[in-house]
């Protein structure tokens, strides 16, 4: 597009769309918008899912292959580096839209599949590769025999309020975002509503924080609004470091403008002149797309001084976070933002009263903010339509682990975990049985077979002693050792503790040591060691209780949940480790016992030579033996044996 055309386009969007409340009434405007948004196209459009998840699956290669193909054949096609529709299993995803025809989506398009695919599709033929589906659109001609995407099992159970544009629009095109209805709420809000009204709407909607705590966003905003100060700040918490969750990254990469709009509305609502998006430094793609989006919004006059002559001044800046899990805790995040060491500080005073540089500050999670433009557009009552009595709206999960359809999904609150797992997730992958779902390290909650029928709801999860967490949804099968899992979680907390308060710093280290002792065979049978081991196990529950009761921040408080929940749901497995020294899943390497199959052993002496503790005896050409008292279970003999004579018990 030429520069003039681009400017003209933008003027049109500002005057006829953003600033004109009767935008919907004019059919001409609607038609123009459908072209700008990419809903309808003048020339063919190829859209490659190029969020981080796509890139990992090889979308970059696919993209280059498509580019080469187009160059070689000299075809004029709009090629878009897109976002993520959420279906990670099918990455790299390529969507094709021909003029007048419905958009059609292909999964698993690796670079070698590009040529046959494009050969056919650009000639208006269905290729051999089975498409994932086509997008329903009444004004476009549909492909024959191609199912609708909305009916695909992965999408059918979802309710995509927040992710509606993810993987559909060009993430770094402000025009297509506005054409899809973006920034309308913001311009309407600043021209027709007072900050107090906005806070009221959010409060009435019942929107709860999605970062894990579930605290009412409206209450928080009201507290900040009512605090008198010459300076206020809004901070968006995009430090998503819970292992197993990446939905914040995915939705920022796929729709950065939505976040900016939400941040602007929130800043307006509490009277903040400056907003920060505090994002993990590792999210390089999300950062670059956000920065691009911010500069576009600034060019259009949506961010900055005296926005659309309303007298509202809001500035938005991206701040890259230190590489620390604790940065996700709001007071630590504020400290980090101030340039200090990321250490949490005591509450009260709450950041809403005294936060960044001692000014009232609101810290909201990305997903929480994503709800805001919608609520303002449709009203608080509308938000009540989705969800349960106490938990409103939708929740985004990242499905991962041993299930068939993994990816980012958005489900209405109130859906059962069984439905998510079996319907959207397509059930278990592989032969093994379902064991548990881990709802992130933050919450440390396990959903087991017995609790699989509970709903996605803050209160219901609380009633079983869990928490919703940030949105991780890791499915474990029977091949996973839960003691090992708890050990992993504890090690994570031990390494990520900021070191400030005693219970978290010392307590997590002690818990880990106990867990390590449990998953290890004693090298010699000294009574002292056994005593130490049992003493640790006896203290474990007490210690976990003290840590969760006295830790300074929520990170510390949640650090023992994994162990407490393992003790609660998987006590048998735990006991087997302690008393029988057995790991049913055969994961805890230190508990394995090796022995040599006399029939298979050829007496090659390979293991004899390699054993680091001389625990193997035997003479050449005769079967060897392992002296169990000496064996440290390192597994060297198992690795060196060429005749599969070393067995694991």
């Amino acid at each position: 597009m030429s520069l003039d055309a681009k400017l003209e386009n933008r003027q049109f969007l500002i005057n006829k769309v953003l600033l004109d409340p009767r935008r919907d009434e004019d059919a001409g405007v609607r038609k123009s918008l459908s072209y700008i948004s990419g809903e309808r196209v003048h020339k063919a459009l190829i859209y490659v899912g190029m969020a981080t998840c796509g890139k990992v699956a090889g979308a970059k290669k696919t993209f280059l292959a498509i580019q080469n193909y187009l160059q070689d054949h000299d075809i004029d096609v709009t090629l878009v580096e897109g976002g993520c529709v959420g279906f990670c299993r099918e990455e790299p995803l390529v969507d094709v839209q021909l003029p007048g025809k419905a958009r059609i989506s292909f999964g698993n398009v690796t670079s070698d599949k590009v040529q046959p695919l494009l050969d056919d599709i650009l000639n208006n033929n269905l290729p051999e590769q089975k498409p994932l589906g086509q997008y329903q659109n009444p004004i476009l001609q549909q492909w024959d025999g191609v199912p609708f995407m909305e009916e695909h099992v992965f999408f059918a159970g979802q309710q995509r309020l927040l992710m509606d544009n993810c993987g559909i629009i060009d993430p770094v095109s402000i025009e297509s975002y506005i054409a899809k209805g973006g920034y309308w709420s913001f311009t309407d809000t600043i021209s027709t509503k007072t900050p107090a009204q906005v806070c009221d709407i959010i409060d009435k909607s019942g929107l709860a924080g999605r970062g894990g705590g579930g605290y009412s966003a409206g209450k928080k905003w009201n507290a900040a609004l009512s605090t008198v100060s010459d300076n206020k700040y809004l901070v968006c918490n995009a430090v998503e470091s819970d292992p197993g969750s990446y939905m914040n990254r995915a939705i920022i990469e796929s729709n950065p403008h939505r976040l900016i709009e939400a941040v602007l509305i929130a800043a307006y609502a509490i009277g903040a002149g400056k907003a920060y998006i505090f994002i993990r430094e590792e999210f390089s793609l999300a950062i670059s797309r956000l920065e691009k989006a911010i500069s576009q919004a600034r060019e259009m006059g949506i961010i900055g001084h005296h926005i659309f002559e309303s007298g509202v001044n809001i500035n938005v800046a991206v701040k890259k976070g230190a590489r620390a899990f604790v940065c996700g805790e709001e007071t630590a995040l504020i400290n980090s933002l101030e340039g200090k060491r990321a250490m949490p500080s005591s509450k009260p005073p709450y950041p809403a009263e005294k936060g960044l540089w001692d000014h009232p500050t609101i810290v909201n999670n990305v997903e929480t903010l994503f709800n805001v433009p919608l609520i303002l557009k449709n009203g608080s009552e509308w938000f009540h339509d989705t969800g349960t009595k106490r938990s409103k709206g939708t929740k985004i999960f990242t499905l991962s682990g041993k299930l068939k359809n993994y990816g980012t999904v958005e489900v209405p609150m109130g859906m059962t975990f069984r439905d998510i797992l079996n319907d959207i997730g397509g059930g278990m992958a592989g032969e093994k049985d379902f064991k548990a779902i881990v709802l992130g390290i933050n919450s440390g909650s396990y959903i087991t077979e017995e609790t699989l029928d509970i709903k996605v709801d803050f209160d219901e999860l609380k009633s079983i002693g869990g928490a919703l967490g940030s949105g991780a949804f890791v499915v474990l099968d029977s091949g996973v050792c839960m003691v090992d899992m708890a050990k992993y979680f504890t090690a994570f907390f031990k390494n990520e503790s900021c070191g400030k308060c005693i219970p978290c710093r010392e307590g997590t280290a002690r818990m880990l040591e106990v867990m390590e002792n449990v998953t290890r065979r004693p090298s010699d049978n000294q009574s002292f060691q056994t005593l130490e081991r049992f003493k640790g196990v006896m203290q474990l529950k007490n210690l976990a209780g003290v840590i969760s009761e006295t830790s300074l921040c929520s990170l510390g408080k949640s650090s023992p949940y994994a162990i407490l929940n393992t003790l609660k749901h998987f006590k048998k497995e735990f006991d087997a480790h302690i008393f029988e020294r057995k790991c049913a899943a055969n994961i805890c390497t230190d508990l394995r016992i090796y022995h040599i199959d006399v029939d298979a052993c050829t007496g090659c002496t390979a293991c004899f030579k390699k054993c680091p503790v001389d625990a193997i005896i035997g003479s050449p050409r005769y079967p060897h033996f392992i002296v169990q008292d000496k064996c440290i279970g390192c597994g060297t003999c198992f690795d060196v044996c060429k005749f599969n004579a070393v067995l694991i018990k």
């Binding site: 620390a324 005591s346 400030k500 997590t508 210690l543």
Partner: protein
């Protein structure tokens, strides 16, 4: 606003909004703490002050929680006691168990806490912390293995001294308090004030001990060990002595030091008098000078302040008086003047300075404080070390005869004693300035001093025809703020600024006996004032010995004092 709260089923009247901890302590409830420091904002790091509040699901830290009307608090419920005990046990789990070999044995807050919590067995087994101690500095030693990460040193270094020589490094169990890039304190921005030692609950921070050096010298027959006691040290010893023998500390201390083998015991008061006279002379010179560009004159007796100014504010160094500090004037008097008069070789004299200061150890290492390779002060003992020395020799100041200090440096004027607390030195210099410029016979006057020991102060005195402005600040934060303010407002009515790096001056020095809180400097100042009343002379120049020496020699800093004989 006053409100009522219920603590352990008893109703208390407390101020709304103040911290729960201070409210509880005011009413006599004993709440253990580790990271808490009066006058500092709470960090909530140690969690030991947890209490149970009705309606809160978790235990809350009383140090950071404001009092709310009607709250119901349990300070000693089973849940609270169990939590506190577990916390102490966790702290102990990787703490080195070498209490018997520890410098703070018996004075250690962790030991006290363990005793208070009735810890009788090792509950958690963990590897002991292994960390290399840092003895690189001339004055402050660090042993990270004993650190409990209460952050008190970090906060005092940052908030009171604005130096931030030490801070937290790494995360999780690897968290350490360390100087930048894990380098030694000797290459950090440390100003050697020793305030961190004062606040450290364990032996993670201690002074670099000169005890062994002193002991070796005492055992060396060739050496004549001469102790130089500063009046401030006498004040802090007096504070710890039973009331009966309070008046005779000077004499008793002299007797005790003589018993352990000192050949002479001197008072550094004479040197302090000389120091005051020299500063007053330089001040008079500046006031009389035409351009007055080097005004205000800033005092030079505090080595920590000098180190701070050189490192952080080099533009200020031209304002600092060019005078040796009293300790080193005393050292050079002994090693040059006394040695010549009594025909002793300079190398055979071993001077030991006793002060409540850690930075003096650092000052003794300066090149300009040596003569031909012989240092003026061979060893510096802090008051803490003085007590250790006396104890190791089995000497008890309560039960010892009295003995006069040795001539010729056996007296100090009230002006010299005043150097021990913030504001005192400015007073002494003002008196001396009267002598030089005003010709007044006025013997003593006291500046109007507010009750708090830390608020910055200034006053104006008419001396001769000039209105002379004096100011005094203690702690680097105060000094920095005051000097910045002065620079910004471009005032020229302040002529002399006394800067002491420790809160309250030397009375709150880093080498004082360890005390919790900031009330001690006030008590020591009171003792000082009593001592001043008994002094033979009020003005520095009243000390005839000092006045005589002052006439004969130059005591300017950085000028190599050529042997005048």
């Amino acid at each position: 606003m006053e409100c009522k709260i219920e603590v352990n089923h008893k109703t208390l009247k407390v101020q709304e909004g103040e911290s729960l901890l201070s409210a509880l302590r005011q009413h006599g409830f004993k709440i253990p703490t580790m990271c808490h420091m009066n006058r500092f904002s709470p960090t909530g790091a140690c969690r030991l002050c947890v209490v149970e509040v009705e309606g809160k699901s978790d235990l809350i830290t009383s140090c950071s929680f404001p009092v709310e009307a009607g709250m119901k608090v349990q300070t000693n419920s089973q849940r609270v006691i169990k939590a506190r005990k577990s916390l102490v046990e966790l702290l102990l789990s990787d703490h080195p168990d070498d209490c018997l070999y520890c410098q703070r044995n018996g004075h250690c807050e962790l030991q006290w806490l363990a005793a208070e919590m009735n810890v009788k067995e090792r509950k958690y087994f963990a590897g002991k912390q292994k960390d290399n101690p840092d003895y690189s500095s001339t004055s402050v030693a660090r042993d990270p293995a004993k650190c409990v990460l209460c952050s008190r040193c970090v906060r005092i270094c940052e908030e009171v001294q604005r130096v931030t020589a030490i801070d937290f490094i790494s995360r999780g169990t690897r968290t350490k308090v360390n100087s930048a890039f894990h380098k030694g304190l000797n290459v950090s921005s440390c100003i050697h004030c020793g305030q961190c030692i004062q606040v450290c609950p364990t032996a993670a921070l201690t002074d670099i001990s000169h005890l062994e050096k002193v002991n070796a010298a005492l055992g060396n027959k060739k050496k004549q060990v001469m102790f130089v006691i500063s009046p401030a040290a006498i004040v802090s010893v007096t504070e710890l002595i039973q009331s009966k023998s309070k008046n005779k500390v000077r004499a008793r201390l002299t007797a005790a030091l003589k018993r352990l083998g000192a050949s002479k015991v001197f008072d550094s008061g004479t040197a302090a008098d000389i120091h005051v006279m020299e500063e007053a002379r330089q001040l008079a010179e500046l006031i009389r000078s035409k351009d007055k560009k080097d005004l205000p004159l800033i005092s030079s007796c505090c080595p920590s302040w000098i180190r701070y100014a050189e490192g952080f504010k080099p533009q200020l160094t031209q304002h600092i008086a060019k005078v040796k500090s009293p300790g080193h004037i005393a050292g050079s008097l002994i090693k040059l003047n006394y040695a010549r008069e009594h025909d002793v070789a300079m190398e055979d004299i071993y001077t030991v300075s006793v002060t409540p200061c850690v930075a003096k150890k650092y000052e003794a290492s300066w090149e300009e404080n040596t003569h031909k390779g012989v240092s003026e002060v061979d060893a510096v003992l802090t008051v803490r070390e003085l007590f250790l020395l006396l104890r190791s020799f089995g000497l008890n100041l309560e039960q010892i005869e009295e003995e006069e200090m040795d001539a010729p440096y056996n007296h100090s004027s009230a002006a010299a004693i005043k150097l021990g607390y913030s504001g005192g030195k400015a007073e002494s210099v003002a008196q001396e300035l009267f002598n030089i410029m005003g010709g007044s016979k006025k013997e003593a006057f006291r500046f109007m001093q507010p009750k708090s020991i830390t608020s910055k102060r200034e006053t104006k005195v008419k001396i001769g025809k000039t209105q002379v402005g004096f100011a005094w600040v203690s702690s680097i934060a105060e000094a920095e703020d005051y000097l910045n303010e002065l620079g910004e407002s471009k005032r020229d009515d302040i002529h002399y600024i006394e800067v002491m790096a420790c809160l309250g001056g030397c009375a709150g020095g880093g080498g004082q006996p360890i005390s919790r809180g900031f009330e001690q400097p006030k008590a020591r100042k009171k003792i000082s004032v009593e001592m001043e009343k008994k002094a033979a002379w009020q003005k520095a120049s009243g000390n005839t010995m000092a006045a005589d020496l002052f006439e004969r020699f130059s005591f300017r800093q950085n000028e190599i004092w050529e042997d005048p004989f």
